[in-house]
């Protein structure tokens, strides 16, 4: 018998706000965080709008509070802020109850690239800033967050491109089901960098205007930055201690599209498998999913193939579908966790988060995304999709406990 895994705490920082309350406020007022870059120093600052958090690293250090090391990257700072919020939200003080096996699973795509790209030639030639070399590694954020939270047992880091933090949540849930841990804080973090902005630009999938997920005239994605973390626990822990439970993770799956490093297969077979296997695990019928928080990047390829895969499973009764990336931008390694937080809020508050900037149905698809904000609906289960380079496709299902 596997243990049931529930969510007891959530934390988030993105361009629509620092923390749950600011993020909800932006969602309720349909306020996107995407706009011109003012902090990242790039020649593209006027070309590509991004979901940039309008706080400098120095300001983030202050917000991150106790335990922040002197040498720290923006990626790690964002992670600390979201992870601390999630831990506090779950009512867990740092370092308490050593009897509870607590671990952390974090995720990132480029780790401390924000600092590496500033100092790379110094590292190489002048020998300056060498104290930042170790912060480049993907595990730097995980270790630093762990130390801030007093976690010194299990830890690991996942990097599977844009599905990284969905996989971190999945791995966290599996560790609890197998009894390897009782409580895992799982999520991901990524800061904007010239490296990723230019990388996506070489692929010609950045929109120079605001992204329009699931619209027929969509032209690409807007990048973003942020972090999301959730506290996963075996249900007996919050029950015994009378702490709140947001919802349960009832299904998850990862599949590989096995088609191309950066493009998905024409019919979205990988996304189809991820959604189908997650549904099978949960034991739900497609009709029991009330809302799909889609990957929905706004690229030609993703939205079409994700849409086709959704149709294949849910047609003719397609649930409410929306992409929240027009709010936050595509936050890469953090996206799966940030959207998991949105999905958990959707279950808690009965939310449908609208798909902003929608301009008309994709010709090949039969459905349109949800464009109206709704609250107080009876949302029992939400499916959250995260797909990444290398055909890495993951789906998570959050359900009322």
């Amino acid at each position: 018998m596997y243990r049931r895994v529930v969510i007891t705490g959530i934390g988030i920082i993105s361009s629509i706000g620092n923390g749950i309350s600011e993020s909800l406020k932006s969602i309720r007022s349909l306020k996107s965080g995407i706009g011109p870059l003012t902090i990242l120093n790039t020649i593209h600052k006027h070309s590509f709008p991004c979901g940039e958090i309008k706080l400098t690293d120095e300001e983030l250090v202050v917000i991150a509070g106790k335990g922040v090391p002197d040498v720290v990257t923006r990626t790690t700072l964002l992670g600390i802020i979201a992870a601390k919020e999630a831990f506090n939200d779950a009512g867990i003080g740092p370092g308490e109850k050593p009897s509870v096996k607590t671990g952390i699973v974090s995720a990132t795509t480029v780790g401390g690239m924000d600092k590496t790209e500033q100092y790379y030639f110094d590292f190489l030639n002048s020998g300056r800033y060498l104290e930042y070399v170790h912060t480049h590694d993907c595990c730097d954020n995980t270790q630093t967050i762990a130390e801030c939270l007093g976690i010194n047992d299990f830890m690991t880091t996942i990097s599977t491109a844009c599905s990284s933090s969905a996989n971190a949540i999945m791995f966290g849930a599996r560790l609890i089901r197998h009894g390897i841990a009782d409580r895992i804080i799982a999520g991901g973090t990524d800061a904007l960098s010239k490296f990723t902005l230019n990388g996506f630009n070489t692929l010609k999938i950045l929109d120079e205007k605001l992204c329009r997920p699931f619209s027929n005239d969509r032209l690409g994605l807007n990048l973003g930055e942020g972090a999301g973390f959730i506290v996963l626990e075996a249900d007996e822990l919050p029950l015994k201690e009378n702490r709140k439970i947001y919802c349960e993770i009832t299904g998850y799956a990862n599949a590989n599209d096995a088609y191309h490093q950066t493009a998905s297969s024409p019919d979205g077979y990988g996304p189809y498998l991820a959604m189908k296997n997650a549904l099978d695990m949960s034991g739900f019928k497609p009709g029991q999913i009330d809302y799909i928080n889609a990957h929905g990047t706004g690229t030609d390829n993703n939205d079409l193939t994700e849409g086709l895969a959704i149709e294949k499973i849910f047609s003719p009764r397609i649930p409410k579908v929306s992409s929240t990336k027009a709010f936050t931008g595509h936050t890469l390694g953090a996206a799966g966790a940030i959207e998991a937080v949105f999905s958990i809020l959707a279950v808690k508050h009965g939310l449908i988060i609208p798909n902003l900037n929608y301009s008309g149905r994709i010709n090949e698809l039969s459905f349109e995304p949800a464009t109206e904000f709704n609250e107080g609906l009876d949302i029992r289960s939400v499916l959250s999709n995260s797909f990444g380079f290398g055909g890495n496709d993951s789906s998570l299902i959050f359900s009322k406990y």
């Binding site: 790379y120 590694d137 270790q143 010194n152 599977t160 055909g391």
Partner: protein, 351 residues
């Protein structure tokens, strides 16, 4: 949780690729860092593809292909990899051109291939393998995390055949940077860093295993457990973690026929030596990094060494640090640490 090994593909600083089993001649490593003895990739990868692939992608994909062939498996049921540094060469290439060309005239290939899961993903595309695919990137416990994931998958369904691998590459630039930052210096207790610290010879490698929950003829060793721990307070804490881990498997230190430590050279460092004298007095002790060099997924190479020892029932003399008993090896414990931050324990046993 246990996983039977029925195949492997190993690219290392030694001649470990062509023939299975230990190489006849061990070559000394080149200081300060050493590259792998690379195979002829053309036997495994189409020339058109090969041109676009960086070194670690070539090594990873080829080691994986060899592993599947060795196990007689076409398409695995999962592909799980660990890499401490990912695709360093492609990352450096794209990063330098972003900076040098002031963000202009960039080529997407190195960006695409800089993603940490490129090797696992490339294997999936080549095999058209739609199954579970994940990549762990947590420094020197990346392979251990991939192993734990494999063990959990297999515990859920023992029939699954999992392709499990660890890979890391070294480049001239990364060596220069990491060495200037002191990352490869031996561990010295706080405040006792000498002016000219000893440092490890740095290496690289790609090691893949085909593992399954069911014993089948041809399987020659099994993974029987893995554990990691962070910044132990002292020698006593390390000893407790080791005995606690073995206890979970229903074993004790006395059941270990070899402890394969991650020390870089015969002399060891402060941590290895203090645990050695206080805990491992009566154990057979060995080391392996004088064969493969220091790198984040060197424990994947160590797992291969351990599996060969269990298969041959013999410990090569060149690996032995301390010999206290003489019986056919049944259990080998790998214990590794990097700068006393993350430690790992991997247990392999005879089938």
């Amino acid at each position: 949780m246990e996983a039977y090994i029925s195949g492997s593909g190993i690219i290392s600083a030694q001649e470990t690729f062509e023939k299975s089993g230990f190489p006849e001649n061990i070559r000394p490593l080149n200081a300060p860092f050493t590259y792998c003895a690379e195979p002829n990739y053309k036997d495994f990868i189409q020339p058109i593809q090969l041109r676009r692939m960086g070194r670690i992608l070539r090594m990873g994909v080829t080691a994986a292909a060899k592993c599947l062939k060795d196990a007689g498996i076409g398409i695995p049921d999962a592909i799980i990899t660990g890499t401490g540094l990912g695709l360093v060469q492609d990352t450096e290439k794209f990063l330098s051109s972003v900076i040098e060309n002031d963000e202009k005239f960039l080529n997407p290939t190195s960006f695409i291939q800089s993603t940490h899961n490129t090797v696992g993903a490339h294997i999936a595309v080549m095999l058209r393998c739609n199954s579970y695919n994940c990549t762990y990137v947590h420094g020197n416990i990346s392979f251990e995390s991939a192993l734990l994931d494999s063990l959990m998958l297999i515990a859920d369904n023992p029939e699954l055949k999992v392709l499990l691998g660890g890979h890391d590459e070294m480049t001239e630039h990364y060596f220069k940077i990491s060495d200037s930052a002191g990352l490869w210096n031996k561990y010295y207790p706080d405040g006792r860093m000498p002016e000219n610290p000893e440092r490890a010879i740095v290496g690289e490698g790609a090691a893949f295993f085909l593992v399954s929950g069911k014993y089948k003829p041809g399987a020659y060793a099994k993974f029987s457990g893995v554990s990691t721990f962070y910044k132990p307070e002292n020698t006593h804490a390390i000893a407790e973690k080791i005995s606690g881990f073995l206890g979970e498997q229903g074993l004790a230190l006395d059941d270990m026929d070899l402890i394969l430590t991650g020390q870089n050279d015969h002399a060891g460092d402060y941590i290895y030596n203090s645990v050695k004298t206080s805990v491992f007095n009566d154990c057979n002790l060995g080391y392996y990094k004088h064969w493969c060099g220091e790198y984040h997924t060197s424990t994947a190479f160590a797992a291969w060494v351990a599996a060969q020892i269990l298969r041959n029932k013999e410990i090569p003399r060149d690996l032995i640090l301390q010999k206290k008993r003489d019986k056919s090896p049944k259990n080998v414990l790998i214990w590794n640490h990097f700068r006393n931050i993350s430690h790992s324990l991997i247990l392999l046993s005879e089938c």
